[in-house]
Each structure stands twice: as structure tokens, then as C-alpha cells.
Amino acid sequence: MENHQRLLEQLMTTHGGPGFEGAVRDVVVPQLHSYAHKVEVDVMGNVVACIEGRGEGRRPRVLLAAHMDEIALVVARIEEGGFLRVAQTGGFDPRTLVGQEVVVHTRSDDLLAVVGSKPPHLTAPEERGKAAPLSDLYLDLAMPESAVRERVRIGDRVTLSREVYLLRNRRLAGKSLDNRASLAILLETLHRLRQFVHQADVYAVATVQEEVGLRGAQTVGFAVQPDVAIAIDVTFGAFPGQAADESFALDAGPAISFGPNLHRKVFQRLVDVAERHRIPYQIELSQTPVGADANAFQVAGPGLAAALVGIPIRYMHTSVETGSYADIEQCARLLAHYIAELDMAQVEDLSCY
């Protein structure tokens, strides 16, 4: 069995925030080419690969999407001494940035920088109880101001710098496991799908700008207008201090989402498939539209049957996001079996209430 773990590690150390997913796309596109004849990039930067199903006449159309972008920062100001102030492009907890190494993507090259922190020797006791807001943080390029001004422009993007750490039990930690883990799921699914004869035309999609508001999903959902649109995205791994319904155990299989914004019949089918094939799974409940591409898919074009699956990761939106490759494989099994069983009868039933 081919395993895309090395590729996932490569994807995690590749830099690509909302609106500048190019480097990630360059890794993903050749991978998709090994499964699909046609791979296209739309005006937003979404990648769409189509793998045709078998059979004459109208075939089910299923879209599988994982977003390529990671949360990022943008240079907002160059201060005296050459230190940089930054603004958000996606949701960081500024407390996780203190002492963090980052990469500033300038027009000519990538520069390493360190997010400054005050030494404990100089920190007054009353300061220790305060967490600095993002506006007070600064990036240190360790070069004179003049050199900084020559190389860095306002608007240059900044991403986390972090190598991948292989932990116990096939768990890995690093930046942007949200949502490169799901790109790995996408590819693992396509790989498994080769063993099946499937009727469905599969649109394997890597979307852009999810982290700033599901923007890529909106246009790609409209363009493809599939019968079923499944977003693959990470969810919250169990950790002390979190609510039970917002905590999913690692190594306990993918989470399948249920809620008003997700199609009940697709959800049920995914659960049935998991049960029949003895794939471990967990159920995630939502009460409002989900914070993932499935939200945009539901209301794309005439409205789509949307679903959301994904693996739990700990420490989401930090540089040490931690998930299990075993969960990635189980999620891919689930999706491959679901697609293999998808037929027109199911599709027609989606609008029957």
C-alpha cells in the first residue's frame, strides 16, 4: 500500500497562506496528475482534478475538497531598528507566536525571523500576568533597518517555520497539519479508489482561502456543481479543558459531521459505510454552519448536498498541530468506500424530503 506520509511531511513544511497557495499547489498538482488525466486551476487558484467514473449516461458527481492554505500573517509596518509589525491572515492566538520562528516571504527570497520575547531577567512581576496582543508582537530579522527596508515590503506574507516531528504511534506534529492532513486524505482516497470500479465522477479539489472565509470553496462549488460535495477538514483533538462535544480522540478514526448545514442522507450514508466496513469513526455535532468548506458548498449555485469529514488534531492553529496518520488512512478508507458505492439512486434521493 502506497503511503503519502512523506508527501504530507513535505506539504507541512511548504509555505502557503490564504491567497498565496502557489508553493503548495506546485506540490499537489503533480500528485493529482498521477490519478487524473485532467487537472485544472481556476482563477481563484483552486485545483480541480477529475477522475471519471464508469457507465453510460448520467453518472453521480462527487466533489472531495481539502483546502491548501494555512493561517498566515502579513507585514503591516517596518519599525525603527528594522523590526516588523504584522497583521493576521487567518486566526492566530498571539500567545502561541511568542518566541516562534517564522518565514517572511519577500519579493526576492524567504527570510527567517524570530518573534521577539522579553527576557525573564527584565520582566516585572506584574507583566508576567499579561499576554501581548498581536499588535505588540514584532518580528526580528537580525539585520539593520536599511537592509530590511531594501528587502521587505508592506504586504509581504509571513508563515510559521516548523519542521515536522514524528511522535509516537504514527502521530506527527508541525505547522499546517490544518489542512495538509486532508490533502493527504484526498490523495490516499484516490489511491484506494483505484481498486474499485466506481460510477461516480470524482472531482478532487484543493481549495484556496479557506482560512479567511471559505472563499475558494464558494467558486469551485459553483463551477463544478456536483451532486455531493464533501469537505475534508481537521477537527479538535481531545485535550484537557475542552468540552466533550468539541473533543475527538486521536486514533479513533475520522469525525463525520452532523448538523443543519450538512446533508442528513450523505451523513447517514457515511456512517453506514463506516459501520459496514468496520472503519472507526466519531460523530461531530454542529448547531450553526460549520467553519469549513462544506459551509460554502451547501449554498453554492443551486445548493449542494454537503458533508464534512476529517481527522482530529490537537493544538489547532499553532506550529505544533498534532494528528495521527492512522486516522488519515481510516478517513481515506471511508471516503473511498463511500464513493465506490455512490449511485444515481442515492443522488436522486437527495432532493426527496
Binding site: G81, H121, M143, Y315, H317
Partner: protein
């Protein structure tokens, strides 16, 4: 490169073994004698029988780190590790950092509850160390216990790299930069007895240096340190301590030492005579091994030469390679001038 090797070596306070072995390897055959004492200090000696003042150079091998104190086996925390700090670490720099546990370097990460699940008021406050865990990917306590036990020490998993302009980043420049300077200095030939003390446990109270100085009984001692540098945006000039790239820093007064003014000025004048940039360390807080050394026995004359380190005690520290080079030049010049009798006891 020696600074890289030393910086990436595992050596939290009380667990300096790997650093000591690196240094021993470097000095093998280059000094007359090397010995370790009961605390774990490594003392290298050159020309013990020579006449003239007995000079002790000091650098501490230990770094701030963490100690695993508990392997959790409850519900959501099963297999996570509780820890406390070895030496002074601001818990605010720990969140979202990778660490290596033990000399076998078992990787782990210190994570936090995702921002999505934090209440707005929670985000205003730092996460205290009690709410942080090291995650090694263990499924449960038994799985964690198969590789980690309470008492195991951990260090930041930061790689050394050169970046910016003539700068380097890495962990533990405090005080591996001093260790690198001292290894290099022990290669010099001087007409007096030269002792290189690579000490333990500076970070929890200058403990190794005290015992080492007692054993050596030096006439002159110089501590080689990585010191506080906070010359960043928004920092008032009185709080900067030192400025990166402006040369090695000499101490006037810190938490443990009021400088021997005559020796401090001798070093300052030496720097000027040799055209080496030098600066005063301009805060009172913090200290180095000389704080312990100068009050050993009947008292010791000397001082310290410090390399400014930004983000000291944090996972990624920054030094200027020019400062490191100039600290080495200054040290060589001072050793030479002592040989020439420019400083009389």
C-alpha cells in the same frame, strides 16, 4: 561548527553530560590535563607549573530546560506529561514549541487549547505552566511510561542556523557561546597557569562555579557569558542592557556582582587599544558565574566578558556573529595583556 554543535547539545541544568563530552572531545590533546569534580564541572588545565598569576576562565555548560514531573493517566490528559522548569523560563514562551526529552531526544510538543475554543477573556491571559503539557504522541500513560519517566529533563528542539546579517539563531547561546569562546581560548599559549572551568548548574544559582573556583584558587578569573540583550522596538534605552552587534559587554553591576572596577577598566582599555568594539552591560538584573567566583576563598579579582543574546532563556535565541568574534578577540587581547603585565594584582 563548534557553536552549532554546542548549541544543539542536550544540557539542561544538572544534566550537562552531553555538553561536557563535546567539550572534552574538543580539548583532548590540546591541554595538559582535564578533570571532572564531584559536581560534574570539567576543568581543563594548561601550564599549571608556570610562574605568574593563575588565571581561571569560566563558562557554564548548563542551559534552562524542563523536567517531566508527572505522566497523566486521567481522561483527556492520558499520556500527556506535566513538567516544571529547570532554571528561569517565562511560561509565555513555551506554548507551541517542540522539545526533546532526555539524551535520546524523544520528541514532544507543548500545545495549547485551540484559539477557536478560548473565551475572549482567556486569550488576554498567559497560559500558566500548570496548564501546559508535553505531548509525545502517547496513547495512554502506560505507553508514555515505556519511554519517559518523571525526572527526565527536556530541552527546546531548536536548530542552530545563521540568518539575517552576521547573526545566528539557536537554543542555549546562554551559555554555549561562552563554552565555545572558552574552548577556543584554551588553545592559546600563555606564560602563566591557565584554567578553563566548564561549570554546571549556573542557571539555578551559580553552583558549579563556586566549587570550581574553590578548587582552582585563581588569582584572576573571567566568566564568559551570554547575556541579556533587549535592544528591540519599543524597549526604552535604559532597559536594553546591551545592543546586538556593538561588541562584547562588560559588567558594572549585576544581581550578584559589583565589578572590580580596576579590572573592568583594564578590559575596557584593552578593547580600545586593540580596536575591539565593546559596551557596558546596562542593567542591574541577571548575573553570571563571576558572582560566585569572586567571593570564593579570600576573594578573586576579575570580571566577565559577555556576548549579547536576544531572547535569552527562550527557545530561539539570537546572537551577532561579529559579537562572538569580537568577544574572542577581546579575550585573547586581555590574556595577552595579562602576560605582558598590563594588569598587576
Amino acid at each position: 561548527m563548534l557553536l552549532k554543535t554546542l548549541s544543539e547539545a542536550f544540557g539542561p541544568t544538572g544534566f550537562e553530560d552531553e555538553v561536557r563530552n563535546v567539550i572534552r572531545g574538543e580539548l583532548e590533546g590540546r591541554v595538559d590535563e582535564m578533570k571532572t569534580d564531584v559536581l560534574g564541572n570539567l576543568i581543563a588545565v594548561k601550564g599549571a607549573a608556570k610562574p605568574g598569576p593563575k588565571v581561571m576562565l569560566d563558562a557554564h555548560m548548563d542551559e534552562v530546560g524542563l523536567m517531566v514531573v508527572q505522566i497523566c493517566d486521567g481522561g483527556a490528559d492520558a499520556g500527556l506529561l506535566k513538567f516544571r522548569s529547570l532554571g528561569g523560563i517565562d511560561p509565555r514562551v513555551l506554548v507551541s514549541k517542540p522539545v526533546f526529552i532526555g539524551p535520546d531526544r524523544i520528541p514532544g510538543v507543548i500545545g495549547a487549547k485551540p484559539v477557536h475554543l478560548q473565551a475572549p477573556e482567556e486569550r488576554q491571559k498567559p497560559i500558566p505552566m500548570e496548564k501546559l503539557y508535553i505531548d509525545i504522541g502517547a496513547k495512554d500513560a502506560a505507553d508514555a511510561k515505556s519511554v519517559v519517566k518523571p525526572g527526565d529533563a527536556a530541552v527546546f528542539a531548536t536548530r542552530y542556523a545563521e540568518f539575517g546579517e552576521r547573526a545566528a539563531k539557536g537554543k542555549s547561546f546562554d551559555d554555549r557561546v561562552g563554552c565555545a569562546l572558552l574552548v577556543e581560548a584554551m588553545r592559546s599559549e600563555v606564560p602563566y597557569p591557565l584554567y578553563g572551568a566548564f561549570t554546571v548548574q549556573e542557571e539555578i544559582g551559580l553552583r558549579g562555579a563556586r566549587a570550581a573556583a574553590y578548587q582552582i584558587q585563581p588569582d584572576i578569573a573571567i566568566a564568559l557569558e551570554g547575556t541579556v540583550c533587549f535592544d528591540v522596538v519599543g524597549a526604552p534605552s535604559h532597559g536594553q542592557s546591551t545592543v546586538l552587534g556593538k561588541g562584547p559587554a562588560l559588567t558594572v553591576q549585576d544581581a550578584q556582582t559589583i565589578a572590580d572596577r580596576r579590572f573592568a577598566e583594564f578590559m575596557w582599555e584593552t578593547a580600545k587599544r586593540h580596536g575591539i568594539p565593546v559596551q557596558w552591560r546596562r542593567v542591574k538584573g541577571g548575573s553570571n558565574d563571576f558572582g560566585a567566583i569572586h567571593r570564593v576563598g579570600k576573594g578573586v579579582v576579575g570580571g566577565s566578558i559577555s556576548v549579547p543574546v536576544r531572547y535569552i532563556h527562550a527557545p530561539t535565541q539570537v546572537v551577532s556573529l561579529d559579537d562572538v568574534e569580537n568577544a574572542q578577540r577581546l579575550l585573547q587581547a586581555v590574556l595577552k595583556e595579562i602576560a605582558e603585565g598590563s594588569f598587576t594584582l
